[in-house]
Symmetry: C2
Subunit: 385 residues, 2 copies
């Protein structure tokens, strides 16, 4: 599994001393066959310098490697942060004997602290020396922050492989959220083609999950494709495989969300259009009252309807017909045609299926979210102190 | 204080048996001098029948009384819910010898349950009999749900009085949020004038607070003015007094927010315009990561900057200049001109002052919010079960 499953990629993960715990905190991935690539990034107003540098490099050349540190996000760090991100990429490129613009850089961790560049410089030679065809799982560990386990995925199909790793457990929300995901493939793509495959895959995976509705400064998804499989082109098969890898990684992020005890699987249909369905699903996915009720295994379905009817859309709220809407929890109807349905659904269990028909049109959307637990509060009340 | 402070109003609060605890759950307020009035309501897509009936009545006549039950919100109850709200208003009007359209009706409590109309019918004669010029404080108790204390306010000025009561401690968020507020005054207003005074007062009070970002189906603010003071018109003085009463009630709602341990006082300036400043302040006020950090007295100011840079506005994010922005916590600068400022601010204390200069323009806005505590989760995980 992971980012070294596809042929022609090597990776490593080392400890460079950013994390006080001494855990792995520096990951490196390199394509050893010439690769093409694409990236998608946070839409935050003040993206991390890591994001602005990576975006600039992608505009100049196809990427051959990326370096990731965990522990410090290098966000809201001003001009110094920009110089640090540039230095992190250049130093990595020098050691790999690549042009600087072929190296991408990512950071994740606490916002507002400067990158410990000396530690990263000191750790890089070891990371380069450790690059190996079985290094993917170690790299997946080195990008973790509050994650409790690494996230990896692999789809093999038609002679090619799509492998990926991701991190993220808080500040997770579409558009994107501190989530990093890296996908490598030995499927053959021409320069300039990667972005068109990556965009829809991200839209229906990482952009359909929410832990806490927070959009981070560092969210990045990177795709590298080196063609090393020698497989015939079958773009539909590749798009499907890429979509499956992204959805698997996105689901793993929610399954490991900060403090998660219940997984919310939200399916909205009958909305005016898909965009309104997405707005409604997102509103349910981010509602503190829905998420605390899920945590309490409380069949308080009224909160779901309240959230659904107040989903921001186009300066107003997305359409919902209270007289035609219906809602089922774990397959049991609780509201139909404007009226409550007697009887409480079973609410025990580690997942809660929320199926809502808005009663307006044909739009639909799905969303994955975590509940809001004591542990989410504990983890985030104690994060830096 | 409260809704009977102005001359010419009587009120009562009784127990009719909706709340299993036996607490007060039915409130009645009546103008005994002819009054004019106005209301502002939730923008939820499926407002409670109480809201639709009240809005319809306000369109037909100036209101002389309102009746409020707590314990059940009468929301998502379909046609039956509408008939129940109509019956609640008509029965009250019959007992008060008023036309039905001069009586407004409000409900607050659990969403999705039918109104226990028989209990309300049985309780109303007692509520009418108990109407008294000192009944305001009892009425303020009868509208409480998860509130731990009643919210009342009074401003006396220039020969007139403006008194009010409110309830709300969860599902609180602008546009409006299950918040009810009632303001009475003996200031002289002509028919049709009340709304123009109420709108700006609400905009800068109830629409600038957030407990949990939830918009409810029942939010209602009612203003009744009967002119009983005989005071001279001084509209500026009245507008100021009305604004002060609304701001006091809004602040009391946040001070009694579900699980609150820290009050967040958010001041944003330097935004592109006031609307963008409001969007940024609202984003900070609703950020789970900012609110859990406040609960943990954690000087993790990066989360505030991250939230500020991802404030939804016009389909994108409100402008923030990372290189010119500055942030102070409790008066101590932590970020300035694009760089962190060394030193941690004092974070102990029951209030956290957040002063953010966005570095873009002249827009400003203020917001009040509660933190996100274990108790918020506990209260909302256990609400109906």
């Amino acid at each position: 599994v992971s980012v070294t499953a596809a042929r022609g990629f090597v990776a490593s993960g080392v400890t460079c001393g950013i994390k006080p715990s001494g855990a792995l905190d520096l990951a490196l991935v390199r394509a050893i066959e010439p690769a093409v690539g694409a990236g998608m990034f946070t839409s935050h107003r003040v993206p991390s310098p890591a994001v602005t540098v990576t975006r600039a490099h992608l505009g100049e050349a196809d990427p051959q490697a990326f370096v990731v540190n965990s522990g410090v996000a290098n966000a809201f760090t001003g001009e110094r942060g920009h110089l640090d991100a540039v230095a992190m990429a250049s130093e990595t490129a020098r050691l790999l004997d690549l042009p600087a613009e072929q190296v991408l850089v990512c950071s994740t961790g606490v916002v507002g602290g400067l990158l410990p560049l000396a530690k990263i410089r000191a750790g890089l030679p070891g990371a380069v020396a450790a690059l190996a065809a079985d290094g993917g799982p170690t790299a997946a560990q080195a990008i973790m922050t509050t994650d409790t386990r690494p996230k990896e995925a692999l789809v093999e199909r038609g002679g090619f492989a799509v492998g990926g790793m991701a991190k993220g457990s808080g500040m997770i929300h579409p558009a994107l959220a501190t989530m990093l995901a890296f996908v490598t493939t030995d499927y053959p793509l021409e320069p300039g083609e990667a972005a068109a495959f990556l965009r829809p895959a991200v839209e229906h995976s990482f952009n359909r999950i929410s832990v806490d509705g927070e959009c981070s400064t560092n969210d990045t998804v990177i795709l590298l494709a080196n063609g090393a499989s020698g497989a015939e082109r079958d773009d539909a098969a590749f798009a499907a495989a890429l979509g499956e890898v992204c959805q698997s990684l996105a689901r793993q992020i929610i399954e490991d969300a900060e403090g998660v005890t219940v997984l919310l699987e939200i399916d909205v249909r009958g909305a005016a259009n898909d965009a309104e369905a997405t707005a409604i699903a997102r509103r349910i996915a981010t509602s503190p009252l829905v998420k605390t009720a899920a945590f309490g295994h409380d069949p308080n379905w009224g909160r779901i309807m309240v959230a659904a009817g107040s989903a921001p859309y186009n300066g107003g709220f997305a359409a919902l017909d209270g007289g035609r809407a219906s809602l089922s929890l774990n397959g049991i109807p609780v509201f139909a045609g404007g009226s409550p349905v007697a009887g409480d659904p079973p609410m025990d269990g580690p997942a809660l299926s929320i199926e809502l028909d808005v009663g307006v049109g044909d739009g639909s959307a799905s969303y994955l979210a975590s509940d809001l637990s004591y542990d989410y509060v504990r983890i985030n009340a104690e994060y830096t102190t």
